[in-house]
Structures are given as C-alpha cells and as structure tokens.
C-alpha cells in the first residue's frame, strides 16, 4: 500500500527526514513513533501529497505521490496534526462539503456522511457550528472527514492528542475497527495505544528509521527483552561479581535501599537470552537464601526511550 524509497525532506537547509525507506502492506495498522521533531509529521505530510519530497520515491497504492498526486489523494484520508477545520460551518454541512470535494458520487454523499457521523458518534452535534465544539468533538469531526470518502489508506497525525481517557478509548476502538477494512498509518505519543492497536511500529528519530517491528518484538530488543530481579541474602559485591561472570549477563544494577543483609539486584542479559536458569545455578552453588527471582518484561516505553535517546 505504501512504498517509501529513500525519502528525504529538507526545509531551508535543515534535513527533517534523511533518506528513510519503509513499506506498509494492505490491511496493516502501523504506528509511527518518535520524539517531537523526529520527522513524523513531515513524513506524513509528504505521504499525503501536501509537501513534495526533496528526494526519494513514494508510491501509494501503486501511484507516485508527486506525478499522480490527485490519484493518490483520492485514495487517502489524511487527518493533519491539530485538525484544522472551517470553524464557521456546521458539522453535517462540513462533512457534505468534504465528501463532495473528495468526489464521493452525488447519490452516495448523504449516506456516507450519515455513516461517518454514526461511526464517530457525532449524531448529537450534527447541527452545531464547528467553532463551538470541544476539542474531543473536533478531533472526531477530523476523523470523520478523513474517512468520509472511504479511502484505502488513512493517515492520522496524532488522532488522540487532547482527548480524555474515555474518548481515547473510543477512538482506539474505532481505529481497530477501521483496521479491518483499511490500511492505517498513525502517529502518537501514547505508547499503550500503539501496543493495543498497531500490528507494527516504526520508530523514527532525527529523521531516520530506528526500528520497524511488531510491538512485542521491539520490547524484546531492549536489553534482552527485559531484566531479571534477584533478591538473595549475600554481600552485594559478591553477587555482582558472580553474576557478571556469567557468559550472557551484560550488567548488574543494585536496587537500593537494601533490606538488611538482603541484596536486591537487577540483572540485564544479552538480547534474546534467558539466563534465569544459570542464575539459579549460581544461587544454589553458593547456598544463598533466595527470596525473589523474576523476569520483568520490557515495556514499549523502555524500547522507545532506548531507541530514541543518545
């Protein structure tokens, strides 16, 4: 559905996006993650055909975004950051205008507008002027606008920003539902949202793709896919040295404050290796009383921090 080959975008000397490549298959829900200023919005604007790329080739549904811009725009629903809307129009009026503009056949306009109002729970504000609506409703009007022409691909730039937890949940469910028939590329800062909705995550930082994988696999990358918590009755220095002697252990950190003679340690292993058994062997050989041996799964948040921080 999306084929990006070596995309670069330069704004007056500043390289916002530096030669990124990625592919999105039909039916995927892809989360676009990255710190502020990483180039997420820029990439999305280029995909939506609003900004031309400085370099690179982008195809959406087989059409080039530069040379066949109109064809591409017919097939995507783009919701820009901050959701700009005509504040003097009424909700239904606005959606009808957008449907006509996006070439929904004349006899289908009414039906499509009704459908998206239903999907985005806009029925109770359909006759209100957009300028008087709350942020949450405006966000949903933007979402309704993005999908009013039933596009193959939805590009949503931070669709849940500024919403309250209930609304976030509603939008998340809506996106999941839409994902059954549409391809979706969305950017967000809310990592739990990505874990719940996206089949794949693209992490972008300083204009480059840092990782592209499922949320589950990404968390495995983080220092061995999590750490191991060990609590034994033994001197801290001895525990540290014996653990570090293990072949697959990379680092040992103390968790302070210690409880009397007990040593509470956090052990990081190499990616993809489970060292719990070896740790247990060491504990048994030394006859240390054991109070805890457990694995902490890394969260996507940790993965995000590790991938995007220097």
């Amino acid at each position: 559905m999306i084929d990006v080959e070596n995309l670069s975008k330069t704004y007056s000397g500043f390289r916002a996006v530096q030669g990124i490549s990625f592919h999105v298959e039909k039916g995927e829900i892809v989360g676009f993650l990255g710190p502020n200023g990483a180039g997420k919005s820029t990439t999305m604007k280029v995909l939506a055909g609003y900004l031309p790329p400085t370099d690179g080739k982008i195809k959406i549904a087989g059409h080039d975004v530069v040379t066949e811009s109109i064809e591409v725009r017919k097939r995507i629903g783009y919701m820009p950051e901050n959701v700009p809307l005509y504040t003097d129009m009424r909700v239904t009026e606005f959606l009808r205008f957008r449907a006509e503009l996006k070439k929904v056949p004349r006899n289908k306009v009414k039906e499509r507008v009704e459908t998206v109002k239903q999907l985005c729970s806009l029925k109770d504000v359909e006759n209100r002027i957009i300028g008087t609506l709350s942020k949450g409703y405006r966000q949903r009007v933007g979402l309704a606008d993005a999908m009013v022409h039933d596009p193959d691909l939805l590009i949503l730039d931070e669709p849940t920003i500024g919403l309250d937890p209930n609304q976030i949940r509603a939008v998340r469910d809506l996106i999941k539902d839409l994902g059954k028939h549409h391809t979706i590329l969305l950017s967000t800062h809310i990592l739990s949202e990505v874990e719940l909705t996206c089949s794949r995550v693209l992490v972008i930082n300083r204009g480059k793709i840092e990782a592209s994988d499922t949320p589950a696999n990404l968390t495995k990358l983080v220092r061995g896919g999590g750490s191991i918590i060990l609590e034994v009755k033994a001197p801290a220095a001895e525990v540290t040295s014996k653990m570090q002697a293990l072949p697959d252990v990379e680092d040992v950190e103390m968790i302070l404050p210690a409880d009397g003679d007990w040593t509470h340690a956090k052990i990081f292993a190499k990616p993809g290796v489970d060292v719990r058994e070896k740790i247990y062997d060491v504990v048994r050989q030394n006859n240390w009383p054991l109070r805890e041996l457990s694995r902490v799964k890394a969260t996507l948040e940790e993965a995000f921090v590790e991938l995007t921080q220097e």
């Binding site: 704004y11 007056s12 820029t42 604007k45 939506a48 055909g49 609003y50 900004l51 031309p52 109109i70 064809e71 725009r73 017919k74 995507i76 783009y78 820009p80 901050n82 700009p84 809307l85 005509y86 504040t87 003097d88 129009m89 205008f97 957008r98 006509e100 503009l101 996006k102 070439k103 606008d145």
Partner: protein
C-alpha cells in the same frame, strides 16, 4: 466539479461572516445616498447634459466605494485558510490549486457584484415610479455592467493575490488597498499638465475611470476588454504560483 463545490462554499461563507453584512449594508447606504443626491440635483436644476448613470459612475465617491469594498471582500480569501491551517486540509483533498484559486476568485467577484445590486434596485425603482419613465438606453447599461464586471475582476484578482501572500487579514487588506489604489491612481497622471502625449496615450489604455466614462456614454471599445481579461488572468496565474510556492516551502 471540485470548482463548483468550492465556489458554493465561498459564497455561503461570505454570508456567514459579519464583515460581509457590514460591507453590504455600507454599500447599499452609500449607493442609495449617491443616487438620491444625484436625482435631486437633476430634478431641481433641470440638468440635461448627462444621464444619471453618467453622473453616478464618474463621481469620485463611486471610486472611493470600490476602493474600500475590494480589500474587505478579498482579504480573507486565502489569509484565513493559512491562519486556520485549513489550507493543508484543502490541498490534500483531490483538488487542483487552479480550482481553489478560481473558486476563491469567482466567489469574491460574485460577492462584489452582489454589492452593486442596490444600484440596480434604485434604477428599477426610478423606472417604475416616475412619470413619464426616463428612457432606457440598454447599450449604455450593458456596457457599464460589463465594464464593472471587468474592472471588478481585475481588482478582485489583485486582492486575492495579496491575500495569498500573508496569513494576516489586516496586512492582506492594506496591501490590497495599496495595489488597487495604484491600479486606479495610474489614471490620475493625465491630470498633470506636463505629461507628454505618448505617455497620455499609454495611460488611456490602463485608465479605469476613462474606460468607465466611455462605457456609460455607450462607446464600445475592445481594448479595455483585452486589457482587463489579460491582467486578471495574469494575476490569477501569479496567485496560483505563490500558493504552490508557499505549500512547497512547508
């Protein structure tokens, strides 16, 4: 099709803004006052040298009114889209820049013409309620209307052009006033005594008041038509280029 959708939206949005009603009210008031004053002058002094149209469309007040109307109509066309950010939403729909520019231009021009409807009503009332009714010269009326459309088109295109330059409506209005005033002001060169004959000739090509003077007398001239159509088209092309350039800049 995209053009019609956008054009309809432009027209509707004029009638949703307060500025439009203020301008409409002000225009109707000034036109009515002008009409009344001219009519009473004609009646009282039994003035027969010029028709009411001739006096109306050569009076400086008429020009002052247009000079104020145009910036007020055009200032919001693009500026507001840039300010609200809706330009991004507009240009990511499957529409061409050209459609957007034309819709904004024709929307503004249509509203400009609506602003001149009161004078049509005034003339109709004069025709209906005076005995005997004054004679109607259709060629003069037609030519005057045509010239008003052409001049309006050119000046509105100047206004739309200034609106695409900035997201601040006030700056757009001031710039557009300056542009329109400059276009109008060229004609005043003919009043300088030492202007040479060549220059005078050249000025009469671009002198809007002169074109309208001829039109209300019923003199048909193709040169102004060619002039207005081409400069309007040029300004719209320029507007489209700036719109593209602003988008490319990000």
């Amino acid at each position: 099709m995209a053009f019609w959708t956008l054009y309809k939206r432009e027209i509707v949005s004029y009638f949703q803004s307060a500025v439009a009603y203020v301008v409409l009210f002000g225009s109707a008031l000034v036109q009515g006052a002008m009409f009344t004053i001219i009519l009473s002058l004609i009646v009282e002094s039994n003035y027969k040298e010029q028709s009411i149209l001739q006096i109306f469309f050569t009076w400086i007040l008429f020009w002052v009114l247009i000079l104020v109307q145009v910036p007020l109509i055009t200032m919001r066309t693009f500026s507001e889209e840039f300010k609200l950010g809706t330009i991004e939403m507009l240009l990511t729909a499957p529409v061409r820049e050209w459609d957007v520019v034309l819709a904004k231009f024709f929307g503004a021009l249509s509203f400009f013409l609506i602003l001149w409807l009161p004078v049509v009503l005034d003339l109709t009332a004069l025709q209906l309620f005076s005995t005997p009714p004054p004679p109607i010269y259709w060629s003069q009326i037609g030519l005057t209307a045509l010239t008003l459309v052409l001049v309006g088109g050119f000046w509105v295109s100047l206004g739309v052009f200034t609106s695409v330059l900035t997201k601040n409506q006030i700056i757009a209005a001031v710039l557009s006033f300056a542009f329109v005033f400059a276009a109008f002001g060229l004609s005043t060169l003919r009043y300088f005594r030492h202007t040479d004959a060549n220059l005078l000739n050249w000025i009469s090509y671009v002198s809007t008041p002169e074109h309208l003077e001829n039109a209300v007398k019923g003199i048909f001239d193709t040169r102004p038509i060619v002039f207005y159509v081409s400069v309007t088209f040029f300004m719209l092309m320029l507007t489209k280029s700036i719109l593209e350039a602003r988008r490319l800049k990000g």
